[in-house]
Symmetry: C2
Subunit: 310 residues, 2 copies
DNA sequence: CTGAAAGCGCTTACAG
DNA sequence: CTGAAAGCGCTTACAG
């Protein structure tokens, strides 16, 4: 120790330790968004809380890698013991291959099913169907849908059959499919992000139309999008829930953003992160993988009611 | 290549490459908050955007390490080529020592001056003083201050001389010192985080008092805190800016959070991150360090006016 | 231009 | 119990 001090020893070097031990103590968190954007979504923050919680006292760092700037090769060249995919598209398979090749366990949160990947899933399709059935049960027949981004390009606008077949965002597609099990012909408009502004933008396309063509209810694929819908309804003088019902998804706290209590599907976001972290630790300890399926609950608030008779 | 395929070669192993090359391609981002909380502050998100931008095409991953769960030793055992300290307290010196020992360049954003650390600074004290002078110039004499957390414990409540001397959050202290250059006796209340709710909580302590004791202006150390102040003023029926002036800090977009245009000190948050990333790349290329000092601009909005005559 | 050797800085299993 | 050796998997400088 004394000698170390005198020689001004710079080590120990964690890289050499990692090489020898075969462990780096780093878990990759892979997102398709830009760095800042990934953390602008409150769902991802809740997820991070859960991951931090699930990792507990394990001295593990999270290496955040935005896929946008990284190719599969870059991914493979980052040191990590395991990887967590944060809401990635159906086309990440190529990037995942690089990790699989390196025998790095991959945990995917709400991703399309992939071989050799540990899935932490949410009942997106089923939950969305239940939300739609709630509207259907109230008597709604003409429903609009505001979707999350369809692909990494985050293009806005009406969801055509063509755009749908080119879409890659798995969660978005699952939620849309669930809603359309109940309302097969519902017009859908995609937003460029899960934000209030984007929700408002999409809502204008659905609501700022002649009264006869206006839907009596809107299903938004996130609570932030739903708040945007509520805001546009207010702008246009459309009473909620009298003239318009609105359903969200997520169940986040909306402190001060709206005076309504949003009807929404409450998902266990923190739990999702916790389970992902547990799955990682489980895989690193060499035990067999097990997939996890989490459930969302419909919470009926004050934004849904029977439609006005037309 | 063919042989590699046949043998099912798992490499190349990034850890071995890092050891040989002496570079891991990883930059540590060190925060004193919990994982999720660090990214709940819009200032940190802007910072991340800037860092991502400043890193540009360099294939570098960000290793996020919450100091709360990491000791100095843990910090030293994480592989990284350089480290960026995100708004850390005056008492991180011990942790920084471990990095310095390893010859890891350390860039500190708005931290207390430390030897061997590359400083990216903001004119917190001077900017706060200018905000206070704006109020003073309008005729305000009795001013309250809502501060950011004073230390890692995030204790709420009135800022006593005792608490002040034990405080460790450098940015908070600088902003407070600047305001008190103009209003030496201003009562200050600390918030537990930079959020609207926390701002409201602190504001109640300052404003929910007999009218004669109420300050005619409140200086909030962040825009989110300022929105909390505005919200409480509305609750208590205090007219802004007629009966109460409010100054914020940061200059973030407050979409829909308030109908006022907040008077605030607009800081170059994205630029701060960009400069930090540049400083890292600069240090990694072996060039001499240079400190950076960024400036904030007072933007006068609709929340400040001359006080009502008492 | 090709191919074998040295070495990055640790940790751990083993010999003394 | 102490101490020297082997080896993690690369990259690069050097010999052929």
């Amino acid at each position: 120790m004394q000698a170390a001090g005198e020689l001004d020893y710079a080590g120990p070097d964690p890289t050499a330790r990692s090489l020898r031990r075969g462990r780096s103590g780093v878990i990759g968190v892979i997102t398709e968004d830009r760095l800042g954007d990934a953390f602008r979504d409150p769902m991802n923050l809740a997820l991070l809380d859960g991951i931090g919680d699930g990792l507990g006292d394990e001295r593990i760092g999270l290496l955040v890698i935005p896929l946008a700037t990284a190719s599969g090769t870059d991914l493979a060249s980052a040191p990590m013991d395991a990887a967590i995919l944060l809401g990635c598209s159906t086309d990440v398979e190529a990037s995942v291959d690089a990790l699989r090749q390196r025998r790095v366990p991959v945990v995917a949160i709400e991703a399309a099913p992939m071989a050799g990947v540990i899935a932490i899933d949410l009942d997106n399709r089923d939950a969305s169907r239940r939300g739609a059935e709630h509207l259907s049960g109230l008597g709604h027949r003409r429903v609009g849908i505001v979707t999350l981004p369809l692909d990494a390009a985050h293009t806005r606008g009406q969801v055509t059959a063509e755009r749908l077949s080119a879409a890659t965002a798995y969660g978005t597609l699952e939620r849309l499919a669930g809603a359309r099990q109940v309302f097969p012909d519902a017009v859908a408009v995609s937003a460029a992000a899960s934000t209030v502004d984007e929700g408002a933008r999409a809502a204008r396309a659905l609501l700022d139309v002649p009264r006869g063509e206006r839907p009596s209810a809107v299903i938004a694929q996130s609570d932030l999008l739903a708040v945007g819908v509520l805001r546009v309804a207010e702008e246009l003088g459309i009473d909620v829930p009298g003239e318009l019902s609105v359903v969200g998804f997520d169940g986040i706290r909306l402190e001060g953003a709206t005076t309504h209590l949003l009807t929404t599907l409450v998902q266990p976001a923190v739990e999702k992160g916790r389970r992902a972290a547990e799955a990682v630790l489980h895989a690193l300890s060499g035990r067999p993988d097990r997939a996890v399926e989490l459930h969302s609950e419909l919470r009926v608030g004050t934004t849904t009611a029977a439609p006005a008779r037309s």
